[in-house]
């Protein structure tokens, strides 16, 4: 909600700056941004009472003196005779109507009304709707204006459950579905209660006789409707959060006052239907409880003074909650009021000592498994559970974000296959992934299983020991036998026939319930460790990569380390990775063969052959400066 600084400060005799008010609002818990002297407020959903000038000033009154006594029409008003029936009193326990007629529609607005539209850059509609909108901003109570001559039959408020076309006063056509609280005339909906009125009974620029409806609707009946019908309205925002049930008479009298400042009122009449008296809430004064909840020392006088400034009344050792604070019901609610006034940041820390817990072996087996897989070059992934493919036992999401992914996965392997193909398309020739996650199925009730899934394809590793070895069932079986020599796992070779790939290497997968792994694996001594620090992310290039190899023949073994260091410390913007893929001692020839693979990739551009050659040749030139190093063929 947008509130202009000038609209607030005019009622604050101390004339605080916008920054001072901003600091006070933050302390009170009212988040906002400021742009061009306008507060763009984001209130928590329990503070519907703050959605107005009056409401915000009520909270600021704890820090500043406030002079907000808006004139209201105080004379006696005739009773309105209206043919109205409330068939849903539980949803609308109180409603009032005002009918008034003016002699002439004003062409110009007084300053306060004009400022509201100009300062907040709002569009005007028609006189009565403009007054209604302004008063919602000023008082927090939405009202709805009907052109009185259109309400020519019995007006009924009720909750209906039927499909019906409805056109809003802003020309939006919607189809009402399921249950809706509405006003009807002649069995036709004319107003979607608490959301927006209809076009058929709306006021126009020529309306001189208006019927103003001022109601309290239970938030439960309003909530979700504006999203459902895609109608953004100030009224729904306020009714969803709750308005002041006891303010209707004052608001309608203020309506009369504002109208009377613009036009001569020829006739007016008012009626109020109160089906359930608002009992109000009283909470015992208990400063010791407040002290205990917050953890501070505060004397009773200061405590009660804070509450009084916020609009609470103190009656015979009870705190009487004002009607506009429907969020306050308990001592904890009052403690929060006090804490807000003191300022959360001004409450000192008090040392906490939680008794030590001895139960520390949570998911030890699962964690041991994760580090075991890390030791073998596997990367942990996390996948979304939402999938498009349905199986008999898959759980269906009633309201998916994407209708093509309306089921919960019943296995992890399918996700890992997608991950594998994604990485293969990015020219990865060794892909080893695992995921541990719960999966759910729904045969005879919802069942949960915690599964480990692994997938691997391509080269065993990017190092001279593993580069020439292909991942196969034998490799994975041997790997798992290291931790569970007596277990036989059913590794699957997944067919590539139905996959969108030209790569031929075998895909080996395993999906197994975590329960298969016993405490036997806890004796495994992992080499991998949890990172000690949090590495800074280096943006990833999506451009294609290229590889080039260099192979050396070395007879002076003392030069091997120098060559290795040259490659491993080589810096270039286009070199993504260098690894040794071949390291072989030829005993007969008394020489060592060593091969380096260089992976080139740029973050800015697709590399040309010339750009790659430049770096490649530089590496060759530098390496050949080392005595006793040869590149066969050069």
């Amino acid at each position: 909600m947008k509130i202009a600084y000038s609209h607030l400060v005019q009622y604050m005799p101390e004339n605080p700056t916008i920054e001072q008010i901003s600091d006070s609002l933050f302390q009170l818990g009212h988040e906002h941004e400021i742009e061009d002297n306008i507060f763009d407020m984001e209130f928590t959903p329990n503070r519907g009472d703050c959605l107005s000038i009056k409401g915000l000033l009520r909270d600021l009154a704890v820090f500043y003196s406030i002079d907000f006594n808006q004139e209201i029409y105080n004379e006696r008003i005739n009773e309105l005779n209206i043919d109205f029936e409330n068939q849903s009193e539980k949803i609308c326990p109180k409603i009032s109507f005002l009918k008034l007629e003016i002699d002439k529609v004003p062409e110009l607005y007084k300053k306060s009304l004009e400022d509201y539209f100009s300062d907040l850059n709002l569009s005007k509609n028609n006189f009565f709707s403009d007054v209604s909108n302004y008063l919602s901003y000023e008082t927090g109570q939405p009202t709805h204006c009907y052109a009185a001559d259109t309400i020519n039959e019995k007006l009924i408020f009720h909750e209906i459950e039927k499909q019906e076309e409805f056109e809003t006063l802003l020309d939006k056509k919607i189809t009402l579905k399921d249950k809706n609280a509405v006003f009807s005339l002649n069995n036709k909906v004319i107003n979607l209660a608490g959301i927006m009125g209809g076009k058929s009974t709306a006021c126009s620029a020529h309306t001189k006789i208006v019927l103003v409806e001022c109601a309290y609707f239970k938030p439960e009946a309003i909530i979700g409707k504006s999203v459902k019908y895609d109608i953004k309205s100030d009224a729904s925002h306020k009714f969803e959060r709750g308005v002041d049930q006891d303010s209707q008479d004052k608001v309608l009298r203020r309506f009369i006052q504002v109208v009377s400042e613009h036009a001569n009122i020829k006739e007016m009449s008012i009626v109020s239907y109160n089906y359930k008296e608002n009992q109000g809430i009283k909470i015992p004064v208990n400063v010791n409880k407040i002290k205990q909840i917050i953890g501070i020392n505060i004397n009773e006088n200061d405590y009660l003074n804070y509450l009084t400034k916020l609009g609470f009344a103190i009656e015979e050792n009870f705190v009487k909650v004002p009607s506009f604070r429907s969020d306050i019901k308990t001592q904890n609610d009052l403690a929060e009021e006090v804490a807000r006034v003191i300022g959360y940041d001004n409450i000192s820390r008090s040392e906490i000592n939680i008794p030590k817990n001895e139960n520390r072996n949570y998911k030890d087996i699962e964690n041991k498994l994760r580090y075991f897989l890390l030791d073998y070059g596997f990367y942990e992934v996390i996948n979304s559970p939402f999938v498009g493919v349905s199986s008999k036992e898959a759980i269906k999401v009633d309201n998916p974000l994407d209708s093509n992914r309306a089921f919960l996965r019943t296995n992890l392997t399918d996700s890992l296959v997608e991950n594998l193909l994604f990485n293969e398309r990015r020219q990865k020739d060794s892909v080893k992934l695992f995921e541990i996650s719960d999966i759910y199925s729904s045969e005879n009730g919802i069942h949960k299983k915690r599964m480990l899934s692994i997938i691997a394809s391509g080269k065993v590793g990017l190092n001279y020991q593993d580069f020439s070895k292909k991942i196969d069932k034998k490799y994975l079986t041997a790997m798992f036998q290291e931790i569970l020599p007596n277990e036989v796992f059913d590794f699957q070779i997944l067919s590539r026939d139905s996959l969108d790939t030209k790569i031929k290497s075998e895909i080996i997968a395993l999906e197994v319930n975590i329960e298969r792994f016993s405490a036997e694996i806890l004796s495994y001594k992992e080499a991998s460790q949890s990172p000690e620090s949090f590495a800074q992310f280096n943006p990833i290039s999506d451009l294609p990569s290229s590889t080039k190899d260099i192979s050396y023949s070395i007879k002076d073994f003392s030069k091997i380390r120098e060559l290795e260091n040259l490659f491993l410390s080589y810096q270039s913007d286009i070199v993504k990775n260098i690894f040794i893929f071949d390291y072989f001692y030829n005993e007969k020839a008394q020489e060592v063969k060593i091969g380096f693979r260089i992976v080139f990739q740029s973050k800015e551009t697709t590399l040309t052959a010339a750009q790659i050659e430049l770096v490649y040749n530089d590496l060759i030139d530098q390496s050949l400066k080392i005595d006793g190093i040869l590149i066969p063929g050069i």
Binding site: F26, I352, L374
Partner: protein, 241 residues
């Protein structure tokens, strides 16, 4: 290779994999909290409205319960938990105070953009004992944030609203760029929630807090787009060894 012949062993013999950075962050935070005395409890990702909302004092009219915010399954008989708080409820129902429980895991909400995903991770904690105060909650939060971001970090507490805590607060940290960044929510457990779990709220009080793991991981690793975490891209994952 024969070292005896003067052939040196080379580096890069073994490639190690890496934990997923979100799981690493979650584990780090949970280990920290365990060192403070919390016990880890677990719960299902498919929950009932009772545990996900009702027991936590989230009324039928609360916007979070709407179909546009929460994923419902099995013709609205169950839902994908929107927070890990229902696990705390299970913890309170199973144990007697004093109790200190944490839970971590996946949660689901109907969001999808550069900073929100329909699936994300939370760690939440609750401590119920006699005379727990907001001042003690502040002490715990300072300890958590100092452990995560160092003792030079500036933080502030803002009043907020959660149906399950009262008073409630959100905590921001000041970034190097001078921007306040929301980092966690916390509060004193609403006595209604304690009573829902058969805990005498006249005798006991509690504190609770919850952190979004992705948010903290993004800050710690300098990742701007939350979606990077879930592409399973080896170029991304290999950076977090």
């Amino acid at each position: 290779m024969s070292e005896s012949k003067g052939i040196p062993p080379l580096k890069l013999v073994k490639d190690r994999g890496s934990l997923h950075p979100i799981n690493h962050m979650k584990d780090s935070i949970m280990n920290l909290l365990v060192s403070f005395g919390f016990e880890i409890v677990d719960g299902p990702e498919i929950e009932s409205e009772k545990f996900n909302f009702d027991m936590l004092n989230i009324k039928k009219s609360h916007p979070a319960r709407q179909m546009h915010d929460t994923f419902y399954v099995e013709t609205k008989t169950s839902l994908l938990r929107t927070h890990t708080s229902p696990v705390q409820i299970r913890g309170m129902l199973e144990k007697k105070p004093p109790l200190a429980c944490i839970s971590g895991g996946k949660v689901y909400r109907k969001d999808d953009d550069a900073t929100h995903l329909p699936m994300f991770h939370q760690v939440e904690g609750i401590y119920v004992d006699k005379n727990i105060s907001f001042a003690q909650l502040k002490d715990l939060i300072y300890k958590i944030i100092y452990s995560l971001f160092g003792e030079d970090i500036e933080l502030r507490f803002r009043p907020s609203y959660f149906p399950f805590t009262e008073p409630s607060a959100e905590v921001d940290i000041l970034s190097e760029e001078g921007k306040w960044l929301e980092i966690l929510g916390c509060g004193i457990v609403n006595p209604i929630v304690l009573e829902n779990c058969n805990i005498d709220s006249d005798k006991y009080s509690g504190l609770a807090f919850g952190l979004g793991i992705e948010r903290i991981a993004m800050l710690k690793h300098g990742v701007n787009d939350i979606r990077e975490f879930y592409k399973s891209n080896l170029d991304f994952l290999s950076q977090f060894k």
